[in-house]
């Protein structure tokens, strides 16, 4: 059998990451707790190396397909991968002292993180149902394990269990959908499916069945209503550092998955899935924002906030194709992509602040813990203020432009009512973000212990907050990058 050597160049970053992860895994075996920082530094270097490769590959123009068209490297993939590296790296820095304080800073944490990263990269670069599914499962399995990392904690194991069962269900739904589409089109390769669908003459009922299940799978990963039920419980039950991980980079991967499946693969069915996504988006914005108000646990509150943000993200996805017209699609999808990146950036800072307030023997879990933060540390109170403003979408933070761009795409698609609904719910949402600001600045602190922050975290969290502000003042470059990336699809 003739087995031609595939072009490995587009997958250099993945190959490097896999190799390095194995090395990290082995190296860590020989380290004791005092020298755990070697693993830490090695992991960060691995991510830096991946970034190096990705930037190098990104300089090659145009999409490059390899492994029998199962794998694609295009600008969107590279941008999202870079954002994911940053998110995972930031996550490692933020988590370090939290995990160390709780005895979880072991090799597993790093290798699981890196394997999850690998899964995400495969998802982002997939051009084939099977590669996509493989990446998804690699990422998900790592996440399940990470949630249960603190295996003696009942809530953590319960959360991991729920996540695993529901995740398995969602994977099953997704697979079922994929098989339906395979049945209708006879192909698993996304570009190919799109071509076949354009020709027409496929069984619509089978296709729609497949589409509904695929959308359900995507919706589960994004965590939109009614496939959101796992989010609050998992976010609350998992160790805060893991919550941060789940809430950040995987959302980029989920966005990429939606783009690959729906836009690359099923764009001829856009009319159908756009309506589905609109429905899910409205439900998510409504439920997420309304439920978040009633939460007293900060992680749960941020969980519901995530649900509403994913609803917002879907606004752009749901308004790309207008009456079969593609013209504004790139703008709409790039608005969604911009939203995903901005959301990740802001969420890192939001959960970063939760980790900031936690210390050995104390979990900052309640909104009350933010009381009087301004008295304890004016600078970090300011960072949290910027973060909350960005989540609420108040200028001049970047969250404003993220919301503005998806709303613009809704309006230019003629869906003014959708934009109005979105604005109304984000208005309601502003309440619970601003409540945190109010607690920080106008209430007396309950906990007066000084904040013990490691230097690396302190610098990075500050940079994170400043980035939210700076990108809010100069969002143009990132927006254009997203636009070019989507154009290159």
């Amino acid at each position: 059998m003739n087995f031609p050597m595939p072009n490995l160049l587009p997958a250099y970053a993945e190959i490097f990451l896999l190799t390095m992860t194995c090395i990290v895994l082995v190296v860590d075996l020989f380290l004791d707790d005092q020298r755990r920082y070697v693993t830490y530094v090695l992991s960060l270097l691995t991510l830096a190396g991946c970034a190096f490769f990705t930037i190098g590959i990104g300089s090659i123009p145009g999409p490059t397909y390899t492994f029998n068209n199962m794998f694609v490297s295009d600008l969107m993939a590279n941008v999202l991968k870079l954002a994911s590296y940053i998110a995972v790296a930031v996550n490692m820095v933020y988590s370090r002292s939290y995990m160390a304080d709780r005895g979880m800073l072991r090799g597993e944490y790093f290798s699981l993180s890196l394997f999850a990263m690998l899964g995400m990269m495969v998802m982002i670069s997939s051009n084939h149902f099977l590669t996509l599914y493989m990446g998804l499962e690699l990422m998900s399995l790592c996440l399940y394990a990470m949630v249960a990392l603190n295996r003696d904690s009942a809530t953590s194991t319960e959360a991991a269990m729920k996540y695993f069962v529901l995740g398995a269900l969602a994977s099953g739904l997704l697979l079922y959908g994929m098989s339906m589409i395979y049945g209708a089109t006879g192909s698993l390769e996304m570009r190919n499916i799109a071509k076949i669908l354009e020709v027409g003459s496929t069984n619509r009922v089978v296709l729609v069945f497949g589409l509904v299940f695929v959308v359900a799978g995507v919706a589960f990963k994004l965590g939109v209503v009614p496939f959101h039920m796992w989010i609050p419980d998992v976010y609350q039950g998992a160790p805060s550092a893991v919550t941060l991980f789940i809430a950040s980079a995987p959302k980029l991967a989920a966005f990429a998955m939606a783009m690959r499946l729906l836009v690359n693969g099923l764009i001829p069915l856009a009319i159908d899935w756009q309506q589905m996504l609109t429905l899910l988006a409205v439900l998510s914005m409504a439920l997420g924002n309304l439920a978040a108000i009633a939460q007293s646990n900060i992680k749960r509150m941020l969980a519901y906030s995530t649900i509403s943000h994913m609803g917002f993200l879907l606004l752009g996805m749901a308004t790309g194709v207008v009456d079969g017209n593609w013209l504004s699609a790139a703008e709409a999808y790039s608005a969604s992509m911009f939203y995903a990146i901005v959301y990740t950036l802001t969420t890192l800072a939001a959960f970063g602040s939760v980790l900031l307030l936690s210390r050995a023997g104390f979990e900052a879990e309640n909104i009350e813990d933010y009381k009087g933060l301004n008295r304890r540390s004016p600078w970090f109170a300011f960072i949290v203020l910027v973060t909350m403003f960005s989540l609420a979408g108040i200028p001049p933070t970047v969250g404003f432009y993220a919301k503005l761009s998806v709303l613009q795409s809704a309006v230019s698609a003629g869906q003014v009512w959708l934009a109005v609904v979105a604005v109304l719910f984000s208005l309601i949402g502003a309440f619970y973000y601003l409540r945190i600001v109010k607690l920080m600045y106008f209430d007396d602190p309950v906990d007066t212990a000084p904040l013990a922050v490691r230097l690396d975290m302190s610098v990075l969290l500050s940079a994170n907050g400043v980035a939210i502000l700076l990108l809010g003042i100069m969002p143009q470059q990132l927006m254009e990058l997203c636009f070019v990336a989507i154009k290159s699809l």
Binding site: L166, V212, F213, F227, L290, A291, I293, A294
Partner: protein, 677 residues
Amino acid sequence: MKALYLIVPFAPLVGALISGLFGRSVGRAGAHWVTILGVAISFIASCMVMSDVLEGNVFNGTLYTWLISGEARFEVGFLIDRLSALMMIVVTFVSLMVHIYTIGYMAEDPGYQRFFAYISLFTFSMLMLVMSNNFLQLFFGWEAVGLVSYLLIGFWYKRPTAIYANLKAFLVNRVGDFGFVLGIALVLSYFGTLDYAEVFKRAPELATQTMELFPGTPYLVITVICIGLFVGAMGKSAQFPLHVWLPDSMEGPTPISALIHAATMVTAGIFMVSRMSPLFEMSESALSFILVIGGITAFFMGLVAVVQYDIKRVVAYSTLSQLGYMTMALGASAYSAAMFHLMTHAFFKAALFLGAGSVIIAMHHEQDMRKMGGLRKYMPVTYLVMLIGAFANAGFPPFAGFFSKDTIIEALQASQTPGAGFAYWASLLGVFVGALYSFRLVFFAFHGEERFAKIDAHAHETHDKENTHGHDEHGHGGSPHESPTVVTLPLILLAIPSICAGWLIGTVVYGNYFGDAIFVSSGHEWIAEMGQEFHGVMGMMLHGLTSLPFWFAMLGLATAFYLYILQPDVPGVLRQKLAFFVRILDNKYGFDDFNQWFFASGAVKVGTGLWRYGDAMLIDGVMVNGTARIVGWIAGVVRWLQSGFIYQYAFAMIIGISVLLFIWVFDVTALLANWTR
């Protein structure tokens, strides 16, 4: 010349700013010197402008463009013709007299500098109003004089009555201004410009154009514009039924009653209508409306003056009545007569007010005529001036009021405009009433029994009412004596034109003095017809002696003489016999009560209702708290759904899938679309 025009309004403004902003550093004397100097310069400049205008020069130009919005330009500019020049002379002259008089009247008041700042500011505003060449600046001046009037009525801001009165003046004038602004807005929307000359030039275009205020009832646009503008004049010139604020405005210090509420500001409405004569001439309905309103005001407000005891209120009601005359003249297209009466009235009414003020000083700020009497021998100068004022007000020849009022009555007789008949009789009866209240005032206060001696002890108490009146050096308990020169000098200077100003009638009314400034359409040229029968001042006086108005005036004088000199007990008896009518007059026809009941407490009720049902129930209760409750309820439901049981979570996902499948596999949206179609 342009510089001269600028000096006229801005000299008083500079004075006002200095005495208002730096009152403490310039001191009392500094404040009155700087403002009097400003007004004096303004007066001299006005005289120079007048002499220039008499040579036939007219200036109409823009000084400053404030903003341009589309086609419309908003500008500051002057229109200096004979009409505005006359007003400038009247305003600056009376203002100058009042400034001087104030030195004496307000001598002991702690708000001395503030008062001078206000009256100078008023002079500036009034001059901007009369010199304007566009509606915008007119409106600015209109509101500015209203503002200063408000400030001055409430000058003694610690008195509840003064605060009540200035609020009332403010609110009633808002009603008038509502109409005024609507009129101006219509002018802007139909003509696209606010410039007088432009508007007048293009006015004939609107001659037959109609608009529907209510569906199905077309009105002439020009009529709506004119009535809107006139409603503004009704507020400012205190015409029925918006007159209610003027009597109460007497709560302010007397000098401003003379300046603002008799001589100048209240005549702004008359001036405005005269200025707009090209518009008003096009609408017969508006002129009729004006005639009727003027007639009602002239007669019925004069009647109220007969039962008043407060010396200033008598003069105030007489002002209302005289403003009614001017308004009637406008309605009869006798604009020149109205302006002429405006001028003579400014002089004799200022004299009357300042004379009353002089009495009030002498009586230690006592205004009730029942506590006066026999003042003639103590205050000869004031008495003489008041007597001249009364003769002028009643319209006896050769005093100024005779010429102007007689011309108006004759014009009303000649006028063919609907409503002129009513106005004519109202004006004749008004002459009788006018003579009656004028001489009642003179006889009551200056003749007869000296009633102040026995109530002198009481006078001390009234001092407290006027807490601004400190310890005076006149000495208590002594008999009243003549006021100082700063008070009497303006009185004399005002008494002179009160006698002679009427002799100018040949030039001002019949001599085509106003020229193009006033437009009278053909068919309304009754003044011109009367002019052909005018044979000099002496001839008019001789003719006047045989005419009906003179005998009505004589009758009024005789009645007053009988009631208050010959038989001083009769008025009391009459009051009892005619108790019903007296009560109506004492209640001023119940307008105040009605306004209090309907508008004031009505507004409070509406406000309370809106607050209770609109704000508290609807906005707070349903919208704010209701939203919060709904959000809370939804959040509760979601918490309940988020039960923590994994099978329920899975179930939710399955339901989600099923709904999506149901909708898309059966294409429910298309089905619904078919259904609704």
